[in-house]
């Protein structure tokens, strides 16, 4: 398999300063929030790469940078060997980006309530001047709805059906890569399983590559081939699915695995993890996880660990082995 997406040293810094007048009056410095810090990974063709992490870990920002919704502050994004981050407005980058589509979390907010489903699905093709005749019907049937639904409005569908419409829209332009940002977290379990199965089927039929962003470990374990764990904007661990779940190396990964509620753990008494995610505007020095880490040593608070290989796993921890 060949590498389809290569992300190198990707960084995104948001300016979260107060308005300039307040800064002058209150003598405040500019405030910077590092949402994504020096993240590198590769996604192979026709695989599912998952990014997991808690809120504020930067997983959605990475998805938005790959689709071009947010420009990176530093770093490179290559798709099929072509750089799309240094000159995002070039004709070549636009052509590459036609291969990338996105599915959003909330199927109620991501469909225009005033548009018919036909126009919603055809839009990504129409905007590039493609032929749209019969396209909506074909796409609707592909995602398990009926072609007759093309003349309805989004409010006539349930949450799961809306998410199918979102998938149909993402597929309409014939993309190779789909970035899915929490695609099922707004759905009920019985509907979630329908949507996840549909996504697996489409991947096999159309040879799609997914970047799957989620906080739900059981969903990620079901869907992903390779998983990257993010903490405070940093990639702390990356491993193939089975390696990660059978032998998590980073103490943060171990902590979220232990903390996640399990269906077979009746009345389990967990010793809950200590502390919360620190403020991203003033992140801790050294390893971002050291204030909460049960095995932290002095070195962890001074020196930021770099990703290193242990077998198939890449882990950013001084003490992992």
């Amino acid at each position: 398999m060949s590498t389809l997406i290569r992300v190198e040293a990707l960084t995104r810094i948001f300016d979260v300063s107060k308005p300039w007048l307040n800064r002058v009056l209150e003598r405040l410095p500019k405030a910077k929030l590092t949402a994504v810090s020096d993240v590198s990974f590769e996604i192979e063709e026709n695989s599912v790469y998952a990014l997991v992490g808690e809120s504020g870990s930067g997983k959605s920002t990475i998805g938005k940078m790959i689709t071009g919704l947010v420009p990176p502050t530093k770093g490179r994004i290559e798709v099929n060997g072509k750089d799309i981050s240094s000159d995002p407005d070039s004709a070549e980058a636009a052509k590459v980006r036609a291969d990338i589509q996105m599915i959003f979390q909330d199927p109620y907010a991501s469909l225009n309530p005033r548009w018919k489903v036909r126009n919603i699905i055809a839009e990504p093709v129409a905007v590039r001047g493609g032929k749209t005749g019969g396209l909506a019907e074909r796409m609707l049937e592909q995602v398990g709805l009926s072609g007759a639904d093309a003349d309805k409005y989004p409010h006539e569908f349930s949450g799961g059906q809306r998410q199918r419409i979102c998938i149909a829209r993402a597929l309409a332009s014939g993309p190779k890569i789909i970035v899915c940002d929490e695609p099922t977290s707004a759905l009920d379990v019985s509907v979630q399983s329908q949507v996840l199965n549909l996504m697996s089927d489409l991947r096999e039929e159309l040879g799609l590559t997914y970047l799957f962003i989620s906080h739900d470990l059981t969903v990620v374990q079901h869907m992903a081939d390779k998983i990257g764990v993010l903490y405070l904007g940093t990639l702390v661990e990356e491993a193939p699915r089975d390696a990660l779940f059978s032998d998590p190396k980073h103490p943060y990964t171990q902590m979220i695995f232990d903390a996640a509620p399990r269906m077979d753990a009746f009345g389990r008494e967990v010793d809950p993890p200590k502390g919360e995610i620190p403020d991203a505007i003033n992140p801790p020095t050294g390893c971002p996880y050291h204030p909460r880490c049960p095995i932290a040593v002095d070195r962890c608070s001074q020196e930021k660990p770099l990703l290193r290989h242990i077998g198939d796993t890449r882990v950013a921890c001084h003490l992992a082995e």
Binding site: E54, S190, S193, N197, M263, P272, P273, E276
Partner: protein, 328 residues
């Protein structure tokens, strides 16, 4: 067995609309004993939050309790109004909502909100109320409670805010707490902290907890018994381990099988075809029959048997009683 803290019998909630009378809760019965956590699960629209709101008297008009009985330690409370309801709510029943940011008043400090509730329901002096408020914050694990008591809600993180909400629900020492999706807005590590806290408080104080959530994992770890709701009716009720490992109702079985579980490693998830019917388009007979593989003419004609609070497991004509594990 002693009197249960909460006893709900044949509760019916109605909403009159232009399209006709909707019944988001239709004939629900259950008990919760002191120190017990009852997990109420179901998909959106199943009526689980509506049941919780009906118990605590928070139904928005035009929704109303049309029939049935709600007893708190034997006292009927379903018809209380105004002042009488206000004296029960907060004092004897506490509520924890999903979103801690919207359930706290942003203009009052945490201490003001706690002391207001304490003085409203308990006959104590101002300084005594303040001491109790600090003790309440300490009990839910807020560090440096004495300093933080004068902070406003926005100065707390999401997990800390939910702890404040729990302190607020518990500060007047209620007998019953209704927690409606208390951890849905929180991250996993914080969720684990909040669940552990709820379990500890329930055990130590003997509070009865009605835990409403859609997360099976949370229920499995926290609840003693589980009530599965579907389209306003109770589908299955029983001890948590039995219901999860050996479900009797086909809907429960489908729900368990469609939840991805780490240890199963299956290629495809089992799915329940279709979606839950809308309240204005409920099918005749058992509400689940259009999605059920085992449905017969009887299921299409007659609604499933009504589940009583103390007997029976599943509201189904053909319960899955064979001891097959749900891992199929």
């Amino acid at each position: 067995m002693s009197t249960p803290v909460l006893s709900v019998r044949d509760l019916v909630v109605e909403i009159p609309t232009r399209k006709g009378l909707l019944k988001p809760v239709d004939g629900v019965s259950f008990d919760i004993a002191a120190g017990e956590i009852l997990g109420v699960v179901g998909e959106s629209g199943a009526g689980k939050s509506m049941t919780g709101n009906a118990v605590i008297g928070l139904l928005d008009r035009p929704a109303r309790i049309a029939a049935g009985e709600v007893r708190l330690l034997g006292d009927p409370i379903q018809n209380l109004k105004g002042e009488a309801l206000r004296r029960q709510r907060g004092k004897r029943m506490g509520m924890i909502f999903q979103d801690p940011l919207t359930s706290l008043n942003p203009l009052l400090t945490v201490g003001e909100q706690l002391t207001e509730t304490i003085r409203e329901h308990l006959d104590v002096s101002k300084s005594e109320a303040l001491n109790r408020a600090i003790a309440a914050l300490e009990e839910v694990g807020i560090p440096a409670a004495r300093q933080r008591i004068d902070s406003y809600p926005h100065e707390f993180s999401g997990g800390m805010r939910q702890r404040v909400v729990i302190a607020l629900a518990l500060c007047a020492e209620p007998e019953l707490v209704i927690a409606d999706e208390p951890t849905t807005a929180l991250d996993v590590s914080v969720q684990a902290q909040i669940i552990a806290l709820l379990k500890r408080l329930c055990r130590e104080r003997g509070v009865a907890v009605m835990l409403v959530t859609h997360d099976m994992g949370v229920i499995a770890e926290a609840a003693d018994r589980i009530a599965v709701m579907y389209a306003g009716r109770m589908a299955e009720l029983g001890p948590v381990r039995d219901v999860i490992t050996k479900p009797h109702h086909p809907y429960t079985a489908g729900l368990m099988a469609s939840t991805p579980v780490a240890s199963r490693g299956q290629k495809r998830l089992r799915q329940i075809p279709g979606a839950m019917p809308r309240l204005d388009a409920l099918p005749d007979g058992c509400a689940f029959h259009p999605r059920c593989e085992k449905a017969t003419d009887k299921c299409r004609a007659e609604p499933g048997p009504t589940l009583a609070a103390d007997e029976g497991r599943a509201a189904c004509w053909y319960p899955l009683t064979q001891t097959k594990e749900a891992t199929a």
